[in-house]
Structure formats: C-alpha cells, structure tokens
Amino acid sequence: MALVELRNVHKSFQRDTQVIEVFENLTLDVAERSFTALMGPSGSGKSTLLNLIAGLDRPTSGTITVAGAKVNAMPPTALAAWRARHIGFVFQSYNLLPVLTAFQNVELPLLLAPLSRKQRDERVRIALGVVGLDDRLQHYPRQLSGGQEQRVAIARAIVSDPTLILLDEPTGQLDKRAAEEVLALLQRLNSELHKTIIIVTHDAHAAEKAKQVLHLEKGVLAA
C-alpha cells in the first residue's frame, strides 16, 4: 500500500465568474521511503497538489489518503492535529518566524507534541545537527544566509519525525552552492533516515536528485 494515495481527485477554482479546472480525475501513488520530484510549468498545479496532500486545501471531489488517513474528510481541528503529527512542510521562501531564533523556530512543531522541555531541547539540537546548524541555535533568521535559513526550515520540518516531508520549490531562492547543500541534505534524509519526500521544483537539476520524477502538465501527471 502506498503512503500517499490520490484517487480521482478533481480540483477547480472559481475566479470571478470563471471556473478554473486544475485537475480532473488525478490519480497518484507515492510509496513509503520514496523521494519524488514533481515538475511542471507555472500554473500546472504542482503547489496545489502539494497543498492537497498536506491537507492545507481540499479537493473538489475524489479522495486523498496519507498514511491511512482520509485527509479530505477530516474536520479542520483534527486535520491540524494530524498535520502536526504526520507532515513536515518546507516553503520556497523559508517562512521562518523572524522574531524567533533558529532554535525557537525548530521547536515550534514540538510544542504541539506531549514532550517535556528537555525532550524538546534534545530533539531540536538533533534536528539542527542533521542540517549542520548546531552552531547557529541562537541566531535569528536575519543573521543567517538564505541557504542556512532553508536548512533551518528543513530542520523544523523533520524535528517532529513526520511521516511525510513536502517541499515547495525549496531551492527556488538559493544560489547554486546553497541549493546543492539543500539537495544533498534531502538525499541524505531519504537514504539514511528513510524519510518519504515529495519535492515540487522547476529546476531539472534538483529533480535529478529524486528517485522518481513526475511531470504535471495541464492537470495530467506523467512519469
């Protein structure tokens, strides 16, 4: 059984009087421990697909199952709790909270788990150690480079040991060297820590690092 299962997913938006169809009858399986890159032109629905899998958006019809849970049928409060437990999300523009330190940013998801302060402290240090920033615990986002910020965002995504890590254009705002570092980190998370990763990217080079590449064009998926 796949970790992520989309069945006959239909998604449309209403913009003024116009209905915009994003997907029709989209079906997708993502295996556990896989590293999948999702490519496609702007407006093809890549980010929408990621949002649907994360439960941030709801399909117009169809079912989305992640780790056995029917995401599309969950009430909002249960969905928030489920997301906290199962999903690690990384944004293109890092989206760290600027007034919190790297440590505090990474600690945020753990505040939703029944952990002691000491347990949280240990996990944050481990996560920041995995991304190579255990010497930047007390730095604020403004004191970090773009690559470092994105690594903190990845640490925040992995710190609660989620079932699935979703990344939306994680190298989109990074220079080549920082992008390489981030991609190498993702490969290591998949190969060594067996994390299931889905990455949305425009960058063919970034997609090459994945084990599986899917192309999304006009709402249709192709390998």
Partner: protein
C-alpha cells in the same frame, strides 16, 4: 500547546511606533479612569474617616442629615445620662452636643464666597472626635473665637490665626487650626456651641455625638434611646452615618468616571483594532506557517488576543503611572447632604491601579478580538501565495 508568548512580545517590539501609539491611547483612558475614581475614592474616604465605629450620632427621628435635625437641651441631657457612654479624663461623659450650620465665607483666590460648615461644639468634642490643634490654641469658652480645619485654611480668606472672620453678624477671631485625621471635619469652622446657638438656630442642637464604653453596646443603646417615650431621636453608628452621607456623590462620581472613560475607551479600542489588523495583515505568511505546522485556529486566536492584551497592559501600567502623581492632591467639592464645601485628597489606591490595568487589558482583548478572529480564520493556501 499554545504559540509561545515570546513570539508576540518580540513581534510587538518590531513595530514600536504603532505599539506606542496604541499603548498611549489606552494609557490616557486609564489615567482618566484612575483619576476620576481616585476623586470619588478620596471624597468617600474623607467622609468615612469622619465617623468612628465606637461613636454614635443621635439625630431627630426622620432626619437624613444634621441639617434637618434638631435636639433640645432637655433631650441632650437625657441622652448624656445613658450609662453605656464612656467618660473622659475629667470623669465627664464623652458627649458632644453640636450645632451644625452652613455659612458663607470668602474664597482665598478670586471673588465670591463658598458654603462651609460651622460646627458649635463643647470641650468633649475634641476627645470624642479625635481632634488635634496643629497651630494656635482651642477657642475659649464664652468668647467669639473659632478654630479652622487645616484643609480649608489655604482655600479661604481670613482664616489665618489672628484674622477675624465675619459671619452671623459677628466678628470671630481665628485662634487655631486643627486636624482630624484627614476627615471631612478638616473642612469645617469650629466654635463653642454656646456661642453659636444664639446667633444661628436658637436653643437646639443639631446632633449629639457620643463615645460608647464598648462599641458592641450600640444595639442596646439604640433600642434604649429610640424606645424612650421622652425622646424623638434616632441613633446610628457614626461610621455608618458618614459612609451613607458619601453615597450619593460617590455614586455620581463613579458613574461619571465610568461614562467618560467608556466613551474614551471606544477610541482606544479602535486604536487597538487598527494596530492589530495591521499586525495580522503584515504577518499573514507567519500565521499561515503556524497553521501549516498544525497549530489550531484557536491557538492563533489566543496568541493575537494575548498580543493585543499585552500592548494594552503596557498602556494600563503607563496610565497608572500617569495618574499616580495626583495622589494626595487636595481638591474640594460640595457635599450634597450639607451643601457645603468638603476638601479632600485624591486617593489612588493599589486596588484602583489594579482596576485600571484590568480595564486596559479588557480594552486590549475587545480591540484585538476581530483582528485575532481574522487571523484564526485565515485561508492558509491564499495566505501562502
């Protein structure tokens, strides 16, 4: 688990100008709120201090104030004979039959006159009322001499020792100033009752104040006096009488404080609304991240409410500090029971300051609610775009 408060505190620090303006608005409301209630508080305290729980005031039955009362010499003698009354150093009962009238005397500053209570008392009054001469001496029996309460000395003309004050068609020599523990008695002019009686209201006293040997004997004394067929009087604990005298004006001042500050609070609340809408608007992506991480909408709501409350709390503390210097400043108003001037000090108490801060926090929570509600209802996908 809630969103850490440090996130809100540091976010407040990111926009110091709008935070300061909002806090300033709240602080002004709180300062006015505290100041007005300190006024009511001070007035009430002055009157309440006037009465001692060990003292009893006897008035004509049905009289709501000393102004309306009249007690004959014969009645006074019957009252003074009660065995429950304490005796003074000379072995005489601690009973003070008093004449109570309102006179006009000229103000120290500007034109015009004001009503002031003139109270005729006997020697025992000083012990019964706990009065101390702070300058000069007591009036002497049989002479047209008066002493002045220290709170009104600077407010009225001809009240210095050695001055002559003219009222009731006679000249009265000021021979002393007295204090009465900050009570309303310090706003009065005192002379001998035997001198005041013939020039004012004839052969009647307006009240009889007496000190009980045992304050617990009040009920027995009250029953005895009010049940005596020869007397038509009512007895009240002095403390309860003066507390009652302050009720009307205290209520009016409190009502005004609440009304005025409520109107001002609307403005402050709108300030908080503005600031918090701006905060929510500028931090939309951050809110989206928090919701994406799995914080439930109620945590976001609580977080922004706490932030608004924190700004208002700062305003509340500042407002309290702004109002604090008025503590002890002497002002005056008309006692609506005697239509005479009562001088008293603004009284800013710890309870009032705490009340001001609570009021501020309430303003913050009210002002922050709709922006926080908007934050909690944010559509994550749209916010992330």
């Amino acid at each position: 688990m809630k969103i850490p408060f440090v996130y809100n505190l540091r976010s407040i620090g990111q926009r110091p100008v709008s935070t300061a303006m909002t806090a300033l608005g709240v602080s002004l409301v709180v300062a006015v709120f505290v100041a007005m209630l300190a006024l009511a508080n001070g007035f009430r305290a002055a009157l309440v201090k006037t009465g001692s729980p060990g003292n009893v005031i006897v008035l004509r039955r049905g009289a709501a104030s000393e102004m309306e009362s009249g007690i004959s010499r014969e009645s006074e003698r019957l009252i003074a004979a009660d065995p429950r009354i304490a005796t003074g150093a000379a072995g005489r009962p601690l009973v003070s039959p008093e004449v109570f009238v309102v006179i006009n005397i000229p103000r120290a500053v500007g034109e015009g006159v004001n009503n002031v209570v003139a109270r005729g008392v006997n020697d025992e009054a000083f012990a019964v009322r706990n009065i101390h001469i702070v300058a000069g001496r007591k009036f002497e029996s049989g002479r047209s001499e008066i002493i002045i309460g220290k709170k009104i000395v600077p407010r009225f003309a001809h009240t210095a020792i050695g001055d002559t004050l003219r009222f009731a068609t006679r000249d009265w020599l000021v021979v002393g100033h007295f204090e009465a523990g900050g009570s309303a008695l310090e706003s009065e002019v005192w002379g001998e009752n035997e001198q005041f009686m013939p020039v004012f209201r004839g052969e009647v006293f307006q009240s009889v104040i007496l000190r009980l040997t045992d304050p617990a004997a009040f009920d027995d004394l009250k029953r005895a006096l009010e049940g005596d067929q020869r007397l038509t009087v009512q007895a009240q604990r002095e403390s309860a009488f003066y507390a009652g005298q302050s009720t009307v004006l205290t209520r009016i001042l409190t009502f005004l404080a609440v009304m005025i500050t409520s109107v001002m609070a609307v403005g402050a609340v709108f300030g908080a609304v503005n600031t918090m809408y701006a905060a929510v608007s500028s931090r939309t992506p951050e809110i989206a991240v928090l919701l994406t991480l799995g914080f439930p909408p109620r945590s976001v709501l609580a977080s922004f409410l706490a932030e608004s409350a924190a700004i208002a709390f700062l305003g509340g503390v500042a407002g309290g500090l702004l109002a604090l210097p008025i503590n002890g400043i002497v002002t005056s108003t008309t006692n609506w029971n005697s239509f005479s001037e009562v001088a008293f000090a603004f009284r800013v108490t710890p309870g009032l300051l705490v009340g001001g801060v609570i009021f501020a926090v309430v303003m913050g929570v009210v002002g922050g609610f709709f922006p926080a509600w908007r934050a909690a209802r944010l559509q994550v996908v749209q916010a992330l775009r």
